[in-house]
Amino acid sequence: MGTSLAFHFVFAALGVGLPLLMIVVEGLWLRTGDRRYYRLARTWSRAMLALFAIGAISGTTLAFELGLLWPVFMGNTGAVIGIPFTLEGFAFFIEAIFIGIYLHGWDRLSPRVHWLCSFPIAISGALSAAAVVSVNAWMNTPAGFTLAHGVVVDVDPWKAVFNPAMPTEVLHTTLAAYVFTAFAVAALYALVLVRRPSDSEAALALRVAMLVALIAIPLQLVAGDMSSRFDAHSEPLKLAATEGQFATERGAPLRIGGIPDAAAHTTRFALEIPRLLSFLAFDDVNAPVRGVDAFPTLEQPPVLAVHLAFDTMVGSGFTLLGIALWWAFATRLGGRVPARTLARAVVLSGVLALVAMEAGWLVTEEGRQPWIVVGFWRTSEAVTTAPALDLAFYGFSLIYVLLAVTLGWLLAHLHRRNEA
């Protein structure tokens, strides 16, 4: 399940982000009549075909896996969290329909109508992501039901969908999809430019992607800050774990890096900025921050993994902002071809964006352990009892690796094939 999710995350993020880039390039084509934009839109629509097919399959797989791997858990909670999945189902329908129309309708629709068909794709893609993320938020801050003798009663599905963590988590995750897609596309074309600096189509694609990245990454840092502030108030244990904060203290420092040692209840070798954590979380340099030790041992997440994943995410995020600003100044917002060093940095940004996204996912998942639904069900209670589970698990993992490799190969060769 974890493996499937990690892969699905990448496919899904591209599935949410790419349509936005296509709206931009196809819109630019309609506005300027520059054929290079048209060719980019055609190239990316081929990528989207493969991506969406894989996204659809990995989505189906996940729907099945929910039942195959966690039947008892789903039997308990289906009535509460089924509604966001139903919403996602409809969003997915609309997305599938308009992708069909968009990809196969180039010659059947007027350019303007064709362009308009990309909007439902982008909107429903974002909505389906929001619906699924709301389930994850619900696992962090469950709402909309009560548990009586192990049975779910008093279900209020809308309260479950709009649970406390939902707004911040949806915002942060949706922006992550745009950030990742923009940097990934920019990285691909930066790589082309490193090899062939005169490729004007690649330069154009790089500019579009970097402009989107330049808008998305500062927003994402703000959204990330909102998420941490939310944690400070509603998920204090998770905040403590992400910051490697073991003891409860007033005027807590911000720890950058370091190695949390759960046995010794301390984080060693960290760069500590005095009082900054208290300030960031509560706008008060002397505010008390509750540490991991203030919570029962059996409910504590693995602080080492959570803190390192968190710092990896934040560190990557700031590096991405740095690269985006460097690009903006050095190329005058893309007016000039980037120098070789900058182009290499942009290539690196694609990798960093992937790392940031997967690290962020690790933070939310590991930060919730040992719970699958905080305060209600433990992860160990949710797993299935079906036989031969290991075999199925390795089988699915293998299939995913195969898909990822083929897809990666296909995407990497798109630009080259387009010129052939």
Partner: protein
């Protein structure tokens, strides 16, 4: 009509649409494997052309059915998942591989073969799972369930071939007409084998299949099958498409009637497995509002791509 009944009806409708559209897709894969003669490549091309714009949409019906089950009947979903774990895993592998193969087909011959084989695997194990469910105790490897698996593959092939006669012309259309006739006969034989096997191996299921209501449904379904043959013989392809759809509805309805009000025979009924009333209510509202967006979108999609021939 109460909410539980409404949800069951929505579920049956979605399942039927999946059987028709998803089934046509699987069947397309069968004809990809069985492509033969001098128009071999043209046949494969026609299958790919017919599937291209719609195959993803066609498979969202399945996601919808799964979501409906675990939202509205969570305990039944859990029991089905555990009991039919093995065949459903095979279905899943089939769906993954054929989806990937369809997306990557341009990358080489090997993916083309994967596409065909996976297209047979998925409906076969779907049939086995359905048969195993109907026969009780999730006995998906029983002769009865295996026969239902064969029937499912034959039905998919039949639906696809009939649909393709409408979407092609000339000699290619004759190819698919011949294939549709053959598949109808094979599906008929498989459909006849199912109760025959039930009579020898599982008397209780045979009794359910020969109840009054089921017999009426079977008679109507056989009638539809005969009409498919007749309309194909006289080249009334659009009519054949209508009758094959009615035949599919008849088959699914027969299964549902034979289940005698149970989701899982002897264990779960829609009533005792139903989610709390609030969930069902919200679900039905989402379906109603969702349909307002979905139906025109579907009409647009099929109107754009299903109006012409290759």
């Amino acid at each position: 009509m109460n909410d539980v009944t409404l949800v069951v009806l929505v579920g049956l409708a979605a399942l039927t649409l999946y059987a028709l559209f998803g089934g046509a897709d699987f069947g397309g894969g069968v004809w990809d494997v069985l492509a033969s003669g001098q128009r071999r490549e043209a046949q494969r091309e026609a299958v790919a052309h017919a599937m291209g714009p719609v195959w993803e949409t066609n498979h969202v019906w399945l996601i919808f059915v799964i979501v409906l089950l675990f939202t509205c009947f969570p305990p039944a979903f859990a029991a089905l998942s555990v009991g039919l774990y093995v065949p459903l895993t095979f279905v899943l592998v089939g769906i993954i591989l054929r989806g990937a193969a369809f997306a990557f087909r341009s990358q080489g011959e090997a993916w083309g073969r994967v596409f065909g084989v996976a297209s047979v695997i998925a409906p076969f194990f779907f049939g086995c799972a359905a048969g195993g469910l109907a026969v009780g105790a999730f006995a998906w490897t029983s002769p009865f369930a295996l026969a239902v698996g064969v029937l499912a593959v034959a039905l998919c092939a039949q639906i696809a071939a009939v649909f393709l006669t409408v979407e092609t012309g000339g000699a290619l259309r004759e190819d698919f007409r011949f294939r549709a006739l053959a598949a109808t006969l094979v599906a008929g034989a498989a459909a006849a084998a199912v109760p025959a096997i039930a009579a020898r191996t599982v008397p209780s299921t045979f009794a359910a299949l020969t109840s009054h209501a089921t017999l009426i449904d079977i008679a109507l379904t056989v009638g539809m099958g005969a009409l498919v043959l007749a309309t194909l013989a006289f080249r009334r392809f659009t009519l054949a498409r209508v009758f094959v759809a009615l035949e599919t509805i008849g088959l699914l309805l027969g299964w549902y009637i034979a289940q005698a009000g149970y989701l899982i025979p002897g264990a779960a009924t829609p009533e005792n497995a139903a989610a709390p009333a609030a969930t069902l209510h919200v679900f039905l509202w989402i379906v109603a509002i969702g349909a307002v967006v979905l139906v025109p979108s579907l009409v647009l999609l099929f109107g754009l791509f299903k109006a012409d021939r290759t």
